[in-house]
């Protein structure tokens, strides 16, 4: 498909979580690996917001870091606008790197406290040699204005700003290289709801104005619903379901998605008696065999304990579950 800006295939990441060599020898233990991301596939079309949602530890940040090249993949490919990210180097890679940026959850940690805001925002401009001299400060002023701050704020330091304002600075920085694609990893999770609303509105406005494409990551289902055109649900590093935005909520297909929706307290005051959610997330170092969700699944079948389900089409997208295979298409 040509309109896919980002294409992720069989993306997998292991972490070596073994004890130090000597301990392993003494305790006669093997090396231990944690599968943070297992065989994940998705595409993001130009101009859309694709969201990844999942509980903590489900692999969201690991995917984000691999997509922007902060972390290598153990397996699989990432293609940006038709260019394979692995194997591309030199000037071509540099040009690609300019075209995508990332916004992190913690606006306190992601901004260098010793730099002035203007220098923080200008950094990508310098890195990619986009502008020179007075043009740089003009551009920084414009960017500050775009994100709802003032050009004068360029002289200040990050600690002089509230959490929401710092996230605006992080957004201005991300925009300064004129990217087409922004990976947003829990951009509002550290903020209060009234400030979160400001940032979500800003992100939507910027997308409309600049035609940005977002990979939007959050553990918050209602935020994801508000922002995304399409949504992928992660469980223990596996993509269990991908569906059109709102339909994920009206017609959840995968048993885990349904459980998650039942678990979220909502403002609707519908008085709906939630189905009690069973169990907790297993240890990712030794995930359950077969379908990783099987110990908690109300629809579990003998097959689920030995065989891993593959993605099958659903009315709203696709999902990996044996119970869905039986349904007439």
């Amino acid at each position: 498909m040509s309109d896919a800006l980002l294409k992720v295939e069989n993306l997998t990441r292991y972490f070596d979580v073994s004890k130090p060599w000597l301990n392993r020898m003494l305790e006669r233990e093997d090396k231990q690996f944690l599968t943070a991301v297992a065989d994940v596939n998705f595409e993001i079309k130009r101009g859309e917001t694709f969201a990844l949602v999942g509980e903590s530890g489900s692999g969201k940040s690991t995917i984000a870091k691999m997509v922007v090249g902060l972390l290598g993949a153990s397996d699989g490919t990432i293609e940006f606008d038709g260019h394979k990210m692995t194997g591309t180097a030199g000037a071509e890679m540099r040009d690609l790197r300019r075209r995508f940026q990332m916004i992190f959850q913690d606006p306190f940690a992601s901004l260098n406290p010793r730099w002035r805001v203007g220098d923080i925002i200008a950094e990508p401009i310098h890195t990619f040699g986009l502008l020179k001299g007075a043009e740089v400060s003009n551009r920084v002023g414009e960017l500050l204005d775009t994100v709802g701050l003032s050009a004068k704020d360029a002289e200040k330091f990050p600690h002089e700003f509230s959490g929401g304002q710092r996230q605006r600075i992080a957004i201005a920085r991300a925009l300064s290289s004129k990217p087409e694609f922004i990976v947003c990893d829990e951009p509002t999770s550290a903020l209060d709801v009234s400030v979160q609303a400001q940032i979500l509105n800003l992100m939507k406005d910027l997308q409309d104005e600049m035609g940005l494409t977002y990979l939007f990551i959050s553990h918050d289902l209602s935020v994801v619903r508000h922002m995304a055109n399409r949504i992928g649900v992660l469980y223990l590093g596996r993509l269990v379901e991908v569906a059109d935005g709102k339909r994920l909520f009206s017609e959840p297909q995968h048993p885990y998605t349904r459980m998650l929706l039942d678990a979220v307290p909502d403002l609707a005051l519908s008085g709906r008696r939630r189905k009690p959610v069973e169990g907790e997330i297993p240890n990712p170092i030794s995930p359950p065999p077969g379908c990783a969700f099987h110990p908690r699944c109300p629809l579990v079948m003998p097959r689920c304990k030995v065989e891993a389900p593959v993605q099958v089409p659903t009315p709203t997208g696709r999902a990996a579950c044996f119970a869905l295979e039986k349904q007439p298409a």
């Binding site: 400001q198 619903r225 939630r274």
Partner: protein, 333 residues
């Protein structure tokens, strides 16, 4: 009408600093009825935790109660000595915090901690206390409680640890449980289990709950009444359905509009401009005035008192004062 179980009157909490005294809780009043679940909601820094800490006598110095009264069944508890307060904390008021490890001692098994707490408050044998402890662990949903009771806290997952803390909070049969963000550190799928558990087990035992959270969804599903805190003051308090479906204080109105939901579509969210002020920069008059679309001259001059709005509801906003409408019209011309 029954008498309040807990009555907080004009509570004021201050922090003396080198640059002067900061007022973190400013004239906060509310009641909790026996068996009632009162939600306390607000953005971070609104004063939720300090309010809870003041009630249970766990304010960390230099923080101090600088005014007001706290009464438990009509008896003042804000002026009790450390020892008397410690007894109330274990016996009559149970506590559940965000991080279960603040309530559990890592060096003792769960059995040791539960049995000790039970025996401090009830004159029973160790064997009897152990039996009660196992039954309680079983009730809070610890599988194989009779065996797991001899494990140390770090042997439990985060969700299971919070269940142990709930058992510990309830083992002396308290009249009130104060739960401060009890699910914030847990996975979404475990949060609802813990909220349901707190609600059910307190209802079973007739304990009232003060549920502190920044999550309006949790309040909507759990609380009978809700107090909305802003800048150390109660902006609005009332029955939860009224406050959520028909908020009156402009801050509550903004707050409700800013929360995306699972069922309604909005192209844009209502965003309250700005942020809650820091303690050293709380404005004159109404603390919300720099962010309030409806602010008028009176809001900058005087601080609004909580005004009664029907049965058991109060809103601290000049818009609801009898003289306000006229003043507002004048301000708008």
């Amino acid at each position: 009408m029954t008498d309040a179980l807990l009555s907080v009157r004009n509570l004021r909490v201050e922090f003396p600093t080198r640059r002067g005294v900061l007022t973190a809780i400013d004239d906060v009043s509310f009641d909790i009825m026996p068996g009632e679940v009162l939600g306390v909601v607000g953005e971070s820094g609104a004063g939720k935790s300090l309010t809870g800490a003041a009630i249970i006598g766990l304010l960390e110095p230099p923080g101090r109660i600088a005014g007001g009264e706290i009464m438990l069944k009509g008896q003042r508890i804000d002026n009790l000595g450390a020892e008397a307060m410690r007894r109330i904390r274990g016996k009559r008021i149970g506590m559940v915090f965000q991080d279960p490890l603040t309530s559990l001692n890592p060096l003792y098994t769960v059995a040791q901690q539960l049995i000790e707490t039970i025996r401090t408050h009830a004159d029973i044998s160790e064997a009897e206390a152990r039996k009660r402890a196992v039954a309680l662990l079983d009730r809070v949903g610890i599988p194989a409680a009779a065996r797991r009771i001899d494990d140390y806290p770090h042997h439990f997952s985060g969700g299971m640890r919070q269940r142990v803390v709930i058992a510990l909070a309830l083992c002396a049969e308290p009249e009130l449980v104060i739960a401060d963000e009890p699910t914030t550190a847990l996975d979404v799928s475990v949060q609802s289990q813990i909220i349901d558990l707190i609600k059910e087990i307190c209802a079973e035992r007739g304990a009232a709950v003060m549920l502190i959270t920044h999550d309006m969804g949790v309040i909507a599903e759990t609380a009978d009444r809700v107090a909305v805190l802003y800048s150390g003051r109660v902006a609005e308090i009332g029955p939860v359905t009224q406050v959520i479906t028909a908020p009156e204080h402009p801050y509550t109105v903004g707050l409700m509009g800013s929360i995306p939901t699972l069922t309604q579509d909005h192209a844009r969210l209502v965003a309250i401009p700005g942020a809650m002020p820091r303690l050293n920069a709380i404005p004159q008059g109404c603390a919300f005035n720099p962010r309030c679309e409806r602010a008028f001259d009176r809001c900058f001059a005087a601080r609004p008192e909580p005004l009664p709005r029907g049965d058991r509801r109060q809103v601290a906003c000049w818009l609801y004062d009898a003289v306000a409408p006229a003043a507002e019209e004048k301000a708008n011309v």
